[in-house]
Amino acid sequence: MVVLMRYFLTLAAACGLLLAQSDAERKPDRVISISAERFTFNPSKVTLKQGELVEFVLTSDDTDHGFRIPSAGIEVAIPPQGRGEVRVRFIAKEKGKFMFECSRPCGAGHNLMRGTIEVK
């Protein structure tokens, strides 16, 4: 009986894990490359559809930058040029405009290194 219970639990956990793959593992609806360079993101305005699973591929063309979406609680470091990329996935749940910004001081124009995500 114990063996059978253990069996069922393991089996069920495996099923649960596979189903829970969903958002993190499934292919995103859109992949958008964003490059960071003192003192701009390119593109600095991104338009999405409500409900999309989106993946941002973030790279830098110079020093390391930060990428922060305050309203989503996302903050990551973008490595310097030639040191790789960061992939950030999120779901555009609601319509609206959401600001993102550089969160790593990068020079005189740092405060204005911002962009907008518009969900329609």
């Binding site: 069922f8 649960g16 699973l53 305050p70 911002r114």
Partner: protein, 469 residues
């Protein structure tokens, strides 16, 4: 709106367990031992897809296969949690930096972060300030090598909120400051507040870098080739040109952005033949806003690795020359572009000084010396650079050549002759080596020429190291 739980959180895990229990009940009711074994094999196959290192062992007893599968699931769950919920990526960690501890925003639900961010954070020590430094060794023809710790700059920023931010730059030049003697300087290069209102319209006030040219706002040593800044952006356009003022900034969309300020004026009493208007910058000391200058810059950065810019500056500069109030106007166009291993940048600048003849007369009366200020000054440069190593290499070696033409006596007021030694050109050629993107070891040789048959222009050899953090 209530944000959905984030994968990797206890809530999410709990939901998985509940789901799993529900599934187990339905599976348990429906299947006999043969079907269960078949289902177990199927799960092992899926586990293998998830984790290629997992090796199913159908020859073992069911209990051993269950043990192995259970262990792998535990590992997969813990690994998954660590990927989805990274440690706070940036110091200092804000309350919302960790995806594992956030509930997401009202409209964007974070799902996962992956890539090279952890390596970037782990490989270096972060300080709570930014800064850059510039150490040079210069040698002019016939002179000895002269070391100079040219710039030691610390930058401090602070966010009062998401919409009110402070930025500053404090500089020590030439490593020593002594009262009353000719030595270095401590200077406040920037100190301003940004009031971020909308992407298209924001307010900025304080000590501002005048947005003219490329280098004045982007002067971190790894950001340009050559030990010294370009002559055109030091003589035709002052460097580091900062003034007190306020203005507006914004991103107009489609890659266009602007900055427009009203600032303190240039001081025409410090204009001269050799450096044109460059020494007229007030740098925020004893400056005047009686007749504020207006400056505007428009940039296009809508294509990756391409930036085009144009600036217009105009203002009266006579607050220290009573009775003579010349207007200074500067127009510049500039661009930067990178294509594969090739970088290209160039700049053109032209400035006009009205009432230059009267200004020369007044300054001669005040000082006894004719400054021979021109009514027009012009300069341009072109700089191709080539990355000798492929971009995928971790080290970067850049060979560059810059041709500059700069004439601070381009057009003279009636009654004044141009001084040909100030009609100059330079070839600057050298190497920049970056072991990491923020550290630049530089070498260049400068061939200087002028139009004078009497005064020789001296060539120069420069070595330097500059870094940003």
């Amino acid at each position: 709106m209530q944000a959905a739980p984030v994968p990797g959180t206890p809530v999410k895990r709990l939901s998985r367990i509940i789901l799993a229990l529900a599934l187990s009940l339905s599976i348990g009711q429906a299947q006999n031992p043969t079907e269960l074994e078949k289902r177990l094999a199927d799960l092992e196959r899926k586990m293998k897809m998830l984790d290629p290192s997992f090796l199913p062992a159908p020859e073992l007893a069911i209990i051993q296969r269950l043990d192995a599968l259970e262990a792998r699931l535990d590992n997969a769950l813990s690994a998954r949690s660590s990927v989805v919920a990274p440690a706070a990526p940036l110091p200092p960690p804000p309350p919302s930096a960790n995806l594992a501890s956030t509930q997401g925003g009202p409209g964007l639900q974070p799902v996962s972060v992956s890539g090279d961010f952890q390596k970037a954070v782990d490989s270096e020590t972060r300080l709570p300030v930014a800064g850059y430094m510039d150490f040079h060794v210069n040698k002019e023809s016939g002179d000895s090598f002269r070391p100079d710790f040219h710039r030691f700059v610390l930058l401090f920023g602070h966010s009062f909120s998401d919409r009110i931010k402070f930025w500053s730059e404090l500089e020590l030049e030439h490593s020593l400051v002594e009262g009353g003697e000719e030595s270095g300087e401590v200077a406040l290069e920037q100190a301003y507040l940004d009031f971020l209102i909308t992407p298209k319209f924001n307010l900025r006030a304080g000590m501002l870098l005048t947005p003219v040219g490329i280098i004045n706002e982007r002067h971190e040593p790894p950001a340009f080739n050559g030990v010294e800044r370009p002559f055109v952006e030091s003589i035709i356009i002052p460097t580091t040109w900062r003034e007190l003022g306020f203005g507006f900034t914004g991103d107009l969309g489609k890659g266009f952005r602007y900055r427009t300020y009203l600032t303190s004026a240039l001081d025409a009493s410090r204009f001269n033949a050799e450096f044109g208007i460059a020494e007229g910058k007030s740098s925020g000391f004893d400056s005047s806003m009686r007749n504020p200058a207006a400056v505007a810059r428009l940039e296009y950065a809508g294509v990756r690795r391409l930036t085009l810019g144009t600036s217009l500056y105009t203002g009266l500069a006579g607050y220290n020359t009573p009775g003579i109030n010349p207007r200074v106007t500067i127009v510049n166009f500039d661009g930067r572009y990178s294509y594969r291993r090739l970088d290209l940048r160039g700049l053109f600048a032209n400035s006009w000084v009205s009432k230059a003849g009267a200004l020369n007369q007044r300054l001669r009366q005040q000082t006894g010396v004719n400054p021979n200020v021109a009514s027009q000054m012009r300069g341009y440069y072109v700089e191709p650079a080539f990355h000798l190593l492929p971009r995928r290499f971790r080290h970067d070696v850049i060979a560059f050549t810059r041709y500059e033409r700069y004439n601070t006596q381009q057009a003279m007021p009636v009654g004044y002759l141009p001084l040909p030694q100030f009609n100059r050109s330079s070839w600057v050629t050298g190497l920049t080596y970056k072991p990491v993107p923020d550290v630049a070891l530089k070498f260049d040789y400068v061939f200087n020429r002028n139009q004078s048959s009497v005064v020789n222009a001296l060539n120069g050899l420069n070595l330097g190291v500059g870094w940003w953090f």
